[in-house]
Structure formats: C-alpha cells, structure tokens
C-alpha cells in the first residue's frame, strides 16, 4: 500500500518485503493457515486431493461470506450475535412468502432482502439509540429471531421445516444465481466461492479506498474523536449492521436454493464461527484494526479444520473439541506472530 509514497525520507530505512508483511493484520492468520494445512497434509493423506480442496473451499465460503461483514463490523467496534440465525430467517422468509403467496420465487427473494435489511437496521438503530452494548442488543435479536423462526414456521407450515418450492416459477434462475456449481474435472466449484471472493474484494476496496472505510476504522478506533471531526458515526454503525444483513440474505438464499427446504432451527451458533474467523483473521476485538482478507483466511482455516478432521478419519464425536483447540491454537499463533512483528520493528 505504502509503495505509492512519492518522496522517500532518508530517515526511513527501506522496508523489506518481509517487514512490510509483518505489519499486515492478516499475517498471523496466514501463518496459522499454513500450519493447519501442513498438519492435516501429514495426518490425512486424502486432504491434499483436488476434490478435498473444493470441499474445503465450499465450507470455507459458507462461513467466509458472513465473516466478511462481521469483520467489518468488528473493525467498527461492534458485534452481531444475531448474524447466524439471521441467515435462517432470511431463507425462511423467502421460501414461505413465495409458497404462501404462490408468487414467483424472486418476489420472495426480494421480500426476504427487505426483511433482512430491516433486521440489520433494527440492530444498528437500537444500538445507536440506546447506547447499550452491542452484545446485549444483538443477543436480544438473536433470541427473538430464533423464536420467530420456529414459531412462524410451525404456524405456517405445520412442521419445523418449510415446504419445497423447487417446482415454483423462477426457482431455476434463482438457483443459478445463489447455488450453482460447476464440475471442472474431478473438482466441483460452488458459486458461493465466487460470492465469497467478490465480497472480500468489495469489502477490501471499501475499507481501504473509500470514505466509508475511513469512517469504519475511525468509529471503531475512536468513536468520540470521529464524531468530533464530523464523521457520521450513527450512519456508519447502522450501515455496518445492514451490511451484515445483506450478506445474511445472500447466505440464506444460498441455503434455500441449494437444499430447497429450510430447517427453522438452523444457524444457531454460527455467529461464533463468523466472529472466530474475523478474530483469527487479525481483527482486534476492541475495534479499529483488521481486514476483510484476514477474515477470508480465518474462514479458510475453519474449512480446513472442519473437513481435515473427517479426512483424518477421527471420530466425529470429537469434532467440536478439535475445532475449538485448532481455533485457539491459531489465534495464539496469530497473537504470538503479531508480538514478534511488533518487537522486530
């Protein structure tokens, strides 16, 4: 980034590439990712096959799509515990609206977009109005959405899952957008991977090259200072929550159009995976520091761990333990590398 500086000051030692990399927030995550990759390459021979890689990429992308806005939100200094169930809410609204109204599924998709954005707006609005911690506000939203998901689904469908909408008008085109997959040789490429990469690119652009990005860092790094120099703090925060909602909508539509039916109890607990991916990716829990690319690396670590355990043929009963241990180790490594990087300056 800093290569663009025109006049180089003689007091600055020319920064080597290594040193430049050490200063990036993603570095710890990259080192962690390499460690996890090497580990599973050794203990699970099938881990290195191309088909395994595509599976890993797919599961990384499902987390990664949400980890991007959650990382941006964390840079802005806030949490969203409702992010996991919001994905399910989005899928349920889309499916049930289309089914009940016997409308083109695209109508449901758009209604779902509005509803999900409204939930995001609600989170941001409540946060900025009440000034309560985001942990409390979004915990409330999390519980309310969990209840609404189950309550409405049972009320409307009579069961805990939605009815199939696969034979409805517009389903194929919606599926093409949200749940395509392509066979390339023995490898399956899911469209979510493209969504994920596109979101990472857009988020990186926003964070580093737009006014809004400057404001996000400022709001997270010093909200009072930001307000004092005229940064629209309230709008920035609400915008961040609506960004989470937008990605929850994308993620929810993917679930709907790839599985056709939606289980109303899904999504609980996923919010922590998003947060973990963002933190492993170098986001500071206290805000003001982090990157979208880091969140992608964090999601990739999750994908490798969750699938690597399967490829290593370990008893899946232990899955959560290994997941937790892996994530803890990766984060510790991240912190350690960052400390080293700081000391080497």
């Amino acid at each position: 980034m800093s290569a663009a500086a025109t006049a180089v000051d003689e007091r600055l030692a020319p920064a080597s590439l290594v040193r430049r990399l050490l200063g990036r927030p993603e570095l710890g995550a990259v080192v962690g990712a390499v460690a996890v990759f090497v580990f599973f390459s050794i203990v699970a021979p099938t881990f290195l096959q191309a088909s395994s890689l595509s599976t890993i990429l797919y599961s990384a992308s499902t987390i990664g799509i949400m980890a991007v806005p959650v990382a941006m939100l964390m840079i802005g200094g806030e949490f969203d515990l409702s992010a996991g169930v919001m994905v399910t809410t989005s899928a349920l609204v889309s499916s049930m609206f289309s089914y009940q109204m016997t409308a083109n599924v695209w109508v449901g998709v758009l209604v779902s977009l509005l509803v999900t954005l409204a939930v995001g707006f609600f989170n941001g609005f409540m946060l900025t109005r009440t000034r309560l911690p985001s942990f409390i506000i979004t915990l409330g939203t999390f519980l309310m959405l969990t209840g609404l998901n189950l309550g409405f689904t049972k009320l409307i469908s009579g069961t805990v899952s939605t009815k199939s909408i696969a034979d409805m008008e517009g389903f194929p085109s919606a599926r093409a957008l949200f749940a395509s997959k392509w066979e390339i040789g023995s490898v399956t490429l899911q469209i979510t991977v493209l969504w994920w990469l596109a979101l990472v690119a857009v988020a990186t652009w926003i964070l580093l090259r737009t006014r809004a990005g400057n404001w996000i860092f400022a709001v997270g790094g010093g909200a009072d200072a930001a307000r004092a120099v005229g940064v629209p703090v309230v709008k920035t925060r609400i915008g961040l929550y609506m960004g989470v909602a937008l990605c929850a909508w994308i993620s929810g539509q993917h679930i709907l159009f790839s599985f056709d039916v939606v289980q109303s109890g899904e999504g609980v607990g996923n919010e922590f995976l998003y947060i973990i991916a963002a933190v492993i990716g170098g986001c500071l829990m206290t805000g003001g520091y982090g990157s979208a690319i880091g969140s992608a690396v964090g999601a990739f670590i999750f994908g490798m761990t969750s699938n690597g355990i399967v490829y290593a043929q370990w008893n899946p009963d232990w899955f959560k333990f290994f997941l937790g241990a892996m994530l803890l180790l990766a984060t510790l490594l991240n912190a350690w590398v960052r400390k080293r990087a700081e000391a080497s300056k």
Partner: protein, 311 residues
C-alpha cells in the same frame, strides 16, 4: 465585569466569536454563569482557570457540543445557536480537544483528512484520493514546520506535541477562522510545550482567531492577547495583555491570598532544604523534556502493528 464590557464595546464589531453573559446548567448544577469572551482575527484569547472552573464547558459551547442556556453567542456579529460540532465546523470554528480527536490506530494522513476526505472518480468508483491526501498531509505539516518521517505511521506513535501540531495543522488546512485549543500543553514537557506554542502563534499569524484554554498562566502570557479568568463557573476577570502583568495573572489565577500562603509554606520548605530546590527543579525539567514522557510511552505500547517502517 466592567472591564469586559468596555473591551467588548471597543472591539465588538470585528470579533469573530463573541460570547456575552453565557450560562450553562447541567440539571441543577451551574457549570457556567455570566461568562463573556471574544476573539478577533489574528488574536489569541486565553481562557485560564483551575480544574473545575468551567473551561471544558465553555469550550464545548463554542465547539457546538453543548448549547448555552442563557446569554448570547455571536459568530461574526450574527447570533447563533450551534446544533452540533459539524455546524461549528461549517462556521469555521475548529476545536482541538485534549484527546486531540485523533484515532491512534489510523495513519497520520487518514487522520488528517478524517471526516473531510477528498475523493476522485464517480459512482461505485468514487474513491479516496490517496496520493493527494498523503501529499497534502506532508506539505501542510511541513508548512507548519513539522517534518514528519512517514505519514503512513499510526498517529498514536507520534509524540504528544507532534500529535497536537498535526491537529492544529489540520484545522488550519480546513480553513478554520477560529481555532479552539483545549489545554494543548497540559500533558507535554517544557520543550514540547514550546513547540506547540510556536504553532499556536503560527496559526495566529496566519490570521486565525485562537481561543487557548489552559491552566498555565506562563504559557498563556507567552502568546495571549486577552485573558479571561474562570473560577468556579463564573468569570473572575478579563484583561488585555497591556493591562496585566504575568505576576498579576498568576496571582489572580491562583486566587491571590491563597497563593501568598502557598509561597510562604514553600519558602519554609526551601529554607529547610537549603538550596536544593533549584537543582531539583531543573532536574525535573530535564526529565520532562526527555525523549518519551509517560503519555508517549502509553500510546506506544498500545500502538498497532500495522506500521513496520517507523522504528
């Protein structure tokens, strides 16, 4: 009180900012009552007062963070009620707070333009003009006489004095007519205080009206043209530079007789210490001007890892 009225009447027309009889209440607490102040272009008005005298409340009214409950607030002769800090900025009043309103983790150039970032391109390609931002930051700081090693370093890694100067340079660059400085020298060593006061004077010479809030009469007297003394929320005095001496200013600020008593007590201590007092004072002075004060150290430890080129 009478002194204020006469000075205000004499120069009232040219004042950039003029407060008359301003009061502020927080519930049943009287934070400020009947305070008058004015500042003209190319002039420094110092607001002096001990802790709790109402300096912060006064600054918040001028900066648009609080509304005054009584009295008048005129900007360039027009009575105004500021709705928010943005409105104050739009009127050309820039405030440099004690915490400087900078975001420590962000690079200097991003901080410099925070809230007023220049962009280029249109629609979705509308983006920060990064080159312009970097270049302008470096040039503006250089114009104020600050030669920064690297505008990419997080502003938290700068010394307190440097940060203060960046904040002042920012206000000057964005066309402030009135610069309000909240205790710019409070956390600084002797040498750094001098540097900051130099930039305050530079801002005045550039034609800005400056309101300097401080509890240090020595710093105030070095640069001030007018002095407003606050005490327990009310105005204890208002003077022009030629109507008061430094000794008198110090005396009034410390509360006259209280200071006499204090100096008596201190003399007794000095006598029993037999001349150690002088060397002790210089040693302390030297210590404070050292490479890194406690404030700097604190900001360094919390400094981020983003910047790898500074040290």
């Amino acid at each position: 009180m009478t002194t204020t009225e006469t000075t205000a009447a004499a120069t009232g027309a040219s004042a950039l900012v003029k407060l008359a009889g301003v009061a502020k209440y927080y519930g049943n607490i009287r934070a400020l009552q009947d305070v008058s102040l004015e500042v003209s272009a190319g002039e420094i008005t110092c607001v002096l007062g001990d802790n709790g005298a109402g300096k912060s409340t006064l600054i918040k009214i001028i900066a648009g963070l609080h509304r005054h409950d009584a009295g008048t607030f005129e900007i360039e002769g027009e009575e105004t009620v500021l709705a928010n800090p943005r409105a104050a900025l739009d009127h050309g009043i820039a405030t440099v707070y004690q915490d400087l309103a900078v975001v420590p983790l962000m690079p200097v150039w991003r901080n410099f333009f925070l809230g007023s970032e220049p962009t280029k391109g249109r629609g979705p390609l509308r983006r920060l003009d990064v080159d312009l931002m970097r270049r302008t930051t470096r040039d503006e700081l250089l114009r104020m006489g600050i030669d920064l090693r690297d505008v990419d370093q997080p502003i938290g890694t700068l010394s307190g004095g440097e940060r203060q100067c960046v904040a002042i340079a920012r206000a000057v660059h964005f066309g402030a007519k009135v610069l309000v400085l909240d205790e710019p020298t409070a956390a600084l060593g002797v040498k750094q205080s001098g540097v900051v006061l130099k930039y305050v004077a530079a801002a005045r010479d550039a034609g800005l009206g400056v309101v300097l809030i401080t509890h240090n009469p020595h710093h105030a007297y070095l640069v001030g043209d007018r002095f407003v003394l606050l005490k327990r929320g009310t105005m204890a005095g208002s003077h022009t530079r030629d109507s008061i001496t430094l000794d008198e200013l110090t005396r009034q600020m410390a509360g006259g007789s209280e200071l006499d008593e204090l100096s008596h007590e201190l003399e007794r201590v000095a006598e029993s210490g037999s001349g150690v007092g002088v060397t002790d004072a210089t040693a302390r002075g030297a210590g404070r001007t050292g490479p890194a004060g406690p404030a700097d150290q604190a900001s360094r430890t919390t400094a981020p890892t983003r910047d790898d080129t500074t040290r």
